[in-house]
Structure formats: C-alpha cells, structure tokens
Subunit: 230 residues, 2 copies
C-alpha cells in the first residue's frame, strides 16, 4: 500500500488545464499509472507467493496455473503478462525463495552479537521454528523441487544446485570466520564442512516432514556441532 | 518362467478318464490354472516394477494408471484385480522397494568376510553404483516419495517413516557389532549414529541427483566415517 502509492504525485487542476487535458481525466490518469504499477507488483507478488505455497506443499508438476489464478483472482492474460510459461513461473518461484533464504542467512550468519558458530546454530533453530510453523507440510522448497525435478529437467536442476551452492558459500564464510576466531580446528576445510552441512540439512528437513517433528533437525545439528566441527 | 511352471504337474490320460473328465479338457485346464497363476504373478510384478520406475523418476501424483497399464500391456480390469486403488498400488510399490533395499542391507551388513564398518562402507559404494546406473535420475524411492507425499498424506508418511526406521535398525545392528568388535568408541550410541547416517544419506542422494555425481554421497560417507564414527 505504501511504497508505490507514495511515489504518485497528484496533478494540479491548473497544470492539467495548461496541458489541455481535463482534470477529471488527467489526475486519475497519473494516479492510475501508479496504481497500475502497484497492482502489477502486488499481482506478481501474490502469484509467486501462492505458487511457492503450492510448489512447496504439493510439487511443481501438479501445480495448476488455473488454480493459482483462481486463488489470486486474476485472469489468465495477467499471468502471461508476467510469465511467458509455467517454467518461467517456476524459475521465479525458485529465485524468490532463494533470495528469501539468502537474506535470512545473511542476517543470521553476520550477526556481530554472536560468535560465528553460534550464528549457524541460531539459523538451525530458526529453521526448526519455520518448519513447525507450517505443521511440517512444507519443508524446504529447494529440497522438494530438487527431489521432484532433479532427475527430470536440466534447467531446474542447475538452478536448484546453484541455489544450494550459494547457501553453502554463505555458510562457508561463516565457518571461515569461526576458523579465524579459533573456534574450529586449525586447517579445517570450511568449504567441505559447509557442503556436508547442506547435504545433511536437506536430509534432516525431509525427515522432519516424515516424522512431523523437529527432532531430526536437532539431532543432525547436535552431531554436526559435536563431532563434525571438532 | 520357472518357479510357478515347475509346480504344475501334468495330468495323465488314465487319471483323467477315471475322474470322468476328458483329457483334452482336463490337462490344459490344470496347466491353465498354473499358467494363469504365473501370468497373474508376472503381471503384478510387471505393474509394480514399472510403477516403481515411474514413481521414482517422476513422482506418485503424476504417475497415471493408464500409462502404467499401456506400458505393461494389460487391461484396466487386471489392475483392479490386483489393487483396489492407486493408493494400494503405491503402498505395494513402497513395500516392494523397502524389501529390495532391506535384502541388500541384510546381504551387505552381515557379510562375515568384512569387519562391520567395512560392510557399511560397502553398502555406500554399492548405492553409488546404483544411482549412477540410472544416470542419477532415480535416487531413492523412499526419499523421493517422502519429499513428495510426507506433507500430503498421513498413511504414506507413516509407511515411509517406518521403512526408514527399519533400515536404520539394520544399520544400528551393524554398528552394534562394530562396537562389540572395538571398532567404535566405547559408549557410542549406535541408534543415534544410525539415525544420523540415514538423515544425511537421504540428503546425499538428493544432492547426487542435483549434481549428477556420486561426489556428495562420497563426501558424506567420508566425513561420517572420519568424524562421526570416531
């Protein structure tokens, strides 16, 4: 409601008269541009948001564009205004989720109030809350789509692997800080440790879904910190 | 071709005459029962085999019964002779895969020619060959369906979790042997270690699919043996 609306300046009656346009038309016309831009933004966001929910809970292949449109309340033409195909919609959903989790990782893994390893532990706790919040129905979009599409579609496969590598890189940076701070054994290979973390973490989220419990995520984290990082 | 055929004994003309039946009818009739039984067995096996392939590569929800029937070459009636519903078909596919992997685990993890931990390592190597054999398109049926159906269907969820627990139990027994042989630190909690292995292992198979490489499976195994088991 705010960001785009604030950028719309009303047109004065005088300026409208000088330009030969009718105020009643001119003013709404400029407001409409802003409103339209905002609506476009909102519609695209709503499509991606509901698409994310559908893809995370049920999968990409069974997610029907018609159902998404019906839920968001927009005509089919609107969809193809934003996305040329269902594939492009899927890619936008992955990118959006990747950015969301990257922001979360950036926020938690660079928290100056915590030691580096405590930041990673904080991320695992927040993720536990996240999966419990949706009654373990969702898990991780990237893990889900990776499992579903990894063997079927090379474009999605590369994209999903790239997302995991970007999260891994952020984690490795955090571990490198821990190494510099003397909180990891000298000579620890932070890239390999970060890769191990993400391999096991996606497995832990899958098991959390199956057992409807954060116990597998806790269990993986405990052994990772107690054994793998020491 | 053999097991069921071997159990069919031909009826002698004399026995047929004594029973008042015509040989020409009696003999094929008994052979037919056997042939029918064999065909039923073969058909059910073929349905489960192709269903497994479809479910592992594409998922359960998008697997169409019509496509399975067309591939196997049986009419719809045959399908409902074996399975009352698609769900029951899915359950048979899970059970068949669970038994297949349990047999593999039993064979490898009780190999008297290897020390217990070497048996587990042998399992991870054979699994690497398994995923590479299908060009990383399949992965693990239980991991795939767990990811797809874990949040959607409680019956499947419980079944898949039970399968993982049964594999974990076999793994824990192998680790218990290692403990008794002095190959694990005294006091090691073999149940928790086996659980950790299966949490991470399913994650490693997912990453193998995404990266089209056995590297994540190797990487997980190496750190598991070098750090977690020591």
């Amino acid at each position: 409601m705010t960001m785009v609306d604030d950028s719309v300046r009303p047109v004065s009656r005088k300026a409208a008269r000088a330009s030969g346009r009718k105020t009643a038309v001119a003013a709404p016309s400029r407001v409409d541009r802003g409103t339209r831009a905002k609506r476009r933004f909102d519609t695209k966001t709503a499509l991606i948001r509901f698409g994310t929910e559908m893809c995370t809970e049920r999968g990409f292949q069974v997610t029907g564009i018609d159902e998404v449109l019906k839920h968001v309340g927009v005509p089919k033409g609107s969809f193809y205004h934003f996305f040329s195909s269902k594939r492009e919609f899927g890619e936008a959903i992955i990118d959006n989720y990747a950015q969301y989790l990257s922001r979360k990782l950036d926020r938690l893994l660079s928290d100056p109030k915590r030691r580096p390893l405590e930041r990673l532990a904080a991320f695992t706790r927040e993720a536990q809350q996240g999966v419990a919040k949706y009654q373990f129905r969702r898990g991780c979009l990237v893990g889900n789509l990776g499992q579903e599409l990894g063997g079927l579609d090379d474009v999605f496969r590369h994209r999903l692997e790239a997302v995991l590598l970007s999260w891994q890189k952020r984690t490795a940076q955090c571990l490198a800080e821990a190494l510099r701070a003397g909180d990891l054994p000298a000579g620890a290979n932070v890239d390999r440790l970060a890769e191990f973390f993400w391999i096991g973490w996606e497995g832990a989220i899958l098991r959390a879904k199956l057992s409807r419990s954060v116990a597998p995520m806790k269990h993986f984290t405990e052994i990772f910190f107690a054994k793998v990082l020491t």
